[in-house]
């Protein structure tokens, strides 16, 4: 939480990025507490490792200082707090935290938990669901990663050919 507020306040983007790495590690430990070990591992590796490096690389391409806030902050603050209050009001209809007979535990999850070993011989149910029961879903995600990679390569390649053209700096 404190880290989040610091991220909101800080203007030096280098510090913001370092803090977002810290934030990712804290998030990973929270996810550990929620029993999501696979997700925590991914968050620690992705959030603290790869995305920090990518943000720093992008920062190297641009400027590292954010300008002081040029616009009035009241309207966004009101909007954000309003949305937050509405969402908090909405959470009171959710089932209480951690109880075993919430609707989410009654749908397909028991089937996965009871039949994963019998049907797939895989003890880690997350892997079984990821690659077997919901493999179409995962296939879509892999294609999204692929497409994003292709998009970045298209955007960032071939500077030398573009530089001579009159596309860039206008007088």
């Amino acid at each position: 939480m404190i880290v989040t507020i610091a991220i909101v306040r800080m203007r030096n983007l280098f510090g913001v990025i370092a803090l977002s790495g810290v934030y990712s590690f804290l998030m990973a430990s929270v996810l550990m507490v929620y029993d999501a070990v696979d997700v925590a591992m991914t968050e620690a590796a992705v959030g603290a490792g790869v995305s920090t490096v990518l943000l720093l690389a992008a920062l190297h391409l641009t400027k590292s200082l954010e300008y002081p806030m040029p616009r009035p902050a009241a309207v966004p603050l009101i909007v954000a707090v309003g949305v937050g209050l509405a969402l908090i009001w909405a959470t009171y209809d959710l089932p209480a935290f951690g109880i075993a007979d919430a609707p989410i535990h009654k749908h397909v999850a028991p089937h996965y938990l009871q039949n994963a070993i019998k049907e797939t011989q895989v003890a880690n149910v997350v892997s079984a669901v990821l690659a077997d029961y919901r493999s179409f879903d995962t296939f879509g995600e892999v294609i999204v990663v692929f497409t994003a990679g292709i998009g970045v390569m298209l955007l960032l390649k071939g500077r030398r050919t573009r530089r001579d053209g009159s596309q860039g700096e206008t007088p």
């Binding site: 591992m41 590796a45 493999s135």
Partner: protein
């Protein structure tokens, strides 16, 4: 790039373990936490660390850009090909039960193949993203 000796030696010591840990996470994903996504990110992290310390040219001798960009679609093709095997054998797309004599064993094998595809795509995409950003900077 003249950098600190401690960094260079330390990174040289760490990187083999990072790669082995990535493979462990990949292949042990059936029994413990892990899988293709995590392992891909860890392997990519190892290469990116190497590139950060030793410079991008050294890293591209280990993982040439052509190879990385070839691997990005290859992973998707491994995944899709695993699905198409099921399709050709008269089952549904991505139905792995035909890959072995018994359906559960076949599904386990299918999970391994699919995770391998995920590993290849995720790792090579992350490395390619890093190469794209860092080459833009010069």
């Amino acid at each position: 790039m003249r950098l600190d000796v401690v960094l260079r030696v330390g990174v040289k010591l760490i990187i083999p373990f990072m790669l082995v840990f990535g493979l462990y996470v990949q292949l042990h994903g059936d029994y413990g936490p892990g899988g293709g996504f995590q392992a891909g990110v860890i392997v990519a992290g190892a290469i990116i660390t190497y590139a950060l310390i030793f410079g991008i040219e050294e890293a591209q001798r280990v993982a040439p850009r052509k190879l990385v960009e070839f691997l990005v679609p290859l992973g998707v093709l491994i995944y899709a090909g695993t699905g198409v095997i099921g399709l050709l054998s008269g089952q549904n797309f991505l139905d792995y039960s035909v890959l072995a004599a018994h359906a559960p064993a076949g599904r386990e094998r299918g999970i391994l193949l699919v995770e391998a595809g995920v590993l290849v795509t995720v790792a090579s995409t992350m490395i390619a993203l890093f190469y794209a950003f860092s080459e833009r900077g010069r």
